[in-house]
Symmetry: C2
Subunit: 521 residues, 2 copies
């Protein structure tokens, strides 16, 4: 229909984003994105990666952003295509992951006709977008792209969404726009550091709670200096960290528990809670007669740095202020369990991973109720990076592992995955196969929504009726993950003992390319 492809606005946009640093576009395009697809071929440097469902694309962009510390692009089709990606953008928003979503929309003059795919994209996009703009002219498109990239890349990272009407993508453009430098985070607040130095010097029992960039190596080392210098201070990470460096040689760190009564009990044991890169701890869900905010009245709450501030700089300044030695005495010793044998349980499963994990593994943990023993035991494993489900929207694990593998082609990735959640976005396995990604997916097949069995009990349904049982059951029929994996191009095996898991996991981690292991619990 168009006679000349030569220079259009779509190309000016992609050229701008490539110059700003975009290297990957996780895409499931449709008709309104054809010119943007064409631009990926016209412009060198941005690699299109196809997902067979938009939740794969947005979850992969989240994983990429967590590991690359810069935005990937997504390319999504109108409101409904974007809607399929919302759940994982919700997780990305909670993770402060940098992402630039490009949504192709109808031509500006076509919307008024209310064609079948028209919908209120603004209303759908706003809840998960820290930055949202609809391009108003072909000439604006490249500049809007530069602004979107800068908004996404601004530390700690954000979801930016740019809606591109198709006529503005195919329109004439004046060429790419200059990249915009991201704003720096706000400067450290020295009053807070002085005050918290006094708190720490008191040696009153305290917890330093770390999140966001405070869980990177520099943040952890600064926190480790603080804890080593002041015996009253213990280190914890938030319950669901977006990204955390872990393993032997890093400071020992606890994890804030999940259920509110556990958090209340923990915080009841200290006089101060100091936040570094995290918001105040709140209950994941509201329960009768349980508060939302979990810091007991006797515990004083202090903010060293909120997630938008420079938590690493604040921790280092605090460590210096208390005169903490730069030599960290309290790092975790290297320690691994023996390879487990016998029954396959969350404990033996966790031990198998810890016993085998190679240096530099990226672990994406969406193992839900099967995952905690691994976390508790892996502190002394070789250095690794731990990612978790930040926003509670299940179906993040397989896509996020996919994106992490694309960000870090030289590292192995483990998708440590619950079966119920895994079924949400299993299409990610196909992208892993297509891109030959070094991801081992370990499915924890307990064949139920076990967390909901626990929650039914907590809700007073001690003996669930047949419908409550059926709605939390995955045994009828049993899902054959090995066939699912192989059908999507991923070599897959089933294991029913710890010994078999050790054997298959060792092989999968050693071989390049994707693998899947269904661990029947």
């Amino acid at each position: 229909m168009l006679n000349s492809w030569a220079m259009n606005s779509a190309e000016s946009l992609i050229r701008t984003l490539a110059a700003a640093g975009a290297e990957v576009c996780f895409a499931n395009p449709g008709t309104t994105e054809m010119h943007l697809v064409g631009a990926l071929d016209a412009v060198p440097g941005v690699r299109g990666v196809l997902g067979l469902f938009e939740g794969v694309c947005t979850g992969a962009a989240d994983g990429y952003g967590r590991m690359a510390d810069k935005p990937a692009l997504t390319l999504l089709h109108l409101g409904p295509g974007f809607a399929n990606g919302i759940a994982n953008l919700h997780n990305a928003r909670r993770a402060h992951s940098p992402i630039v979503n490009l949504i192709g929309d109808h031509a500006t003059w076509h919307v008024d006709a209310d064609p079948p795919l028209a919908s209120d994209i603004d209303s759908l996009a706003r809840p998960v977008s820290s930055w949202l703009r609809v391009t108003k002219s072909a000439d604006d498109l490249a500049r809007d792209g530069a602004a979107a990239f800068a908004a996404a890349a601004r530390p700690p990272g954000a979801v930016a969404t740019l809606v591109v009407p198709s006529d503005l993508a195919w329109g004439e453009a004046q060429g790419p726009a200059e990249p915009i430098a991201s704003e720096a985070p706000p400067p450290l607040v020295s009053d807070r550091i002085d005050m918290l130095a006094r708190v720490l010097r008191s040696d009153e029992p305290s917890i330093l709670l770390l999140g966001a960039h405070a869980l990177r190596e520099r943040g952890l080392r600064a926190a480790g200096r603080i804890a080593a210098a002041r015996g009253g201070c213990r280190l914890f990470c938030e319950t669901f960290p977006a990204r955390m460096e872990r393993g032997a040689g890093l400071p020992a760190i606890g994890r804030l528990p999940y259920f509110p009564e556990q958090v209340i009990e923990l915080l009841g044991s200290v006089e101060h809670l100091i936040l570094a890169g995290v918001p105040e701890p709140v209950a994941f869900f509201g329960y009768p007669e349980t508060p939302s905010r979990l810091v007991p009245g006797a515990c004083r709450l202090h903010t060293l740095a909120c997630p938008e501030e420079d938590a690493i700089g604040a921790l280092e300044a605090l460590a210096d202020a208390i005169g903490a030695s730069s030599e960290v005495a309290s790092s975790t010793p290297a320690e691994r369990p023996a390879r487990p044998s016998g029954e396959l349980t969350p404990v033996s499963l966790g031990a198998a991973i810890t016993a085998l994990q190679p240096e530099g593994l990226i672990v994406m943990d969406e193992a839900a109720t099967s995952g905690l023993p691994y976390f508790l035991g892996a502190g002394g494993a070789p250095r690794h990076t731990y990612l978790s489900l930040t926003g509670g929207a299940i179906g993040q694990g397989l896509p996020c592992a996919t994106g992490a593998a694309i960000a870090c082609p030289e590292r192995s990735v483990l998708a440590f995955q619950a079966d119920g959640s895994g079924m949400y976005t299993l299409q990610a396995l196909w992208t892993q196969a297509r891109e030959s990604l070094d991801v081992t997916t370990l499915i924890c097949a307990n064949r139920e929504y076990r967390i909901l069995r626990i929650e039914l009990d907590r809700a007073g349904l001690r003996e669930p009726g047949p419908q409550a049982q059926a709605l939390t059951d995955l045994t009828h029929p049993v899902i054959d993950w090995v066939s699912l994996g192989r059908a999507l191009g991923v070599p897959s095996e089933r294991v029913e003992s710890a010994d078999a898991l050790v054997r298959e996991l060792e092989r999968a981690l050693a071989e390049p390319g994707p693998h899947l292991i269904e661990a029947v619990l």
Copy 2:
């Protein structure tokens, strides 16, 4: 945590909805829905059906609503769980399907803490909800449920969404509320009928375009009387009907084409376009130098009934007004092709279905570019019901077929499905297996997004580059649908010739329970 289950507001809600006529709840619940799950056991009459992804639940509710002509319930978990169901609710909204969504939200007092799963549900739900309410008190919940059901059930049907904060579901209630009778559609407009009777008597060339309930048997028979009485009038259905009765003995009817230039050409051949239950024809997408509204200036546009009006009554009144005989002369003769042999193509595939389809088959067509030959050839097949993708949000077919089968347990269902779209919501196969539904899924495996290859060409990309090719290709790796189907509990076979398709399709249609056939094109 709760000591007494005895009588809560969740139970009063489900009791109210059951009394109003709700029989099925397509659910993927989470913690905030536990009391609603418990209520499904406490109240007889509402069957919970588990979907492994929310898009399955909402698509199934759409299919159920189209076939049962009353709402199913969905039960969805907070904003992100709802978001996973939006794309198929978009299709349902375009289909005027009656659906009542129940979204469990955080406890009212918990939202202010901004827990991880909190999001702006109102903003997410509004674009796909004709009726939307957040319950304000436990006492209101049952009444809100009655209002939601009535809003959804009002002809032609609508998507109603009720947000249920968990503390209001577990709160004390005064018991169920009275069902609310749905409003009747507005009365017929006699002026319009008189005017259109004059148009028809002129015998100027005209098209009567039918949609919504005009495509039910009574509407078709009235339209058939009109066309038989006035030679100038031809009958067409809208491009993507939500539900249409078809087959031998019903009037012959054309289908409005998909591409805008085809529609413009067709309408250029007539002087009048009369709408019955449909909006004005518009282009599915905007293309350069192509109008959005497709009725040429020389063709006069008339509305007999818009989708919200009583199109059947209007057609019958119009037939009477022109003195049309009540004996329809022009019904389609029974006619089937021979069983095809040789190469498997969209044409032989269509012929195989038409040659074999049993009386009363429900055909859910999301076969995209592989589907048209079947539609064109099936007019003389035994009576059947045809459902299509109304809103363009792919991934409707497998869920919608699932819901249709639950609505009509005595009928067979054919999910006539493109492979690219089918991958969006393949989890529906598991629900078909679990519920032993008589659905035959026929995957048209052309192993590409073929419509996008066509659209790339229309956009001027005559020779797509490697990225455009890769983003529309499904061959690397090839998706093994037989393994996918079997992994999810559905007996599955692959066919590579028309002969093999005939053999497997005949078997699948004859045997009860779900089957899948991957037809390699």
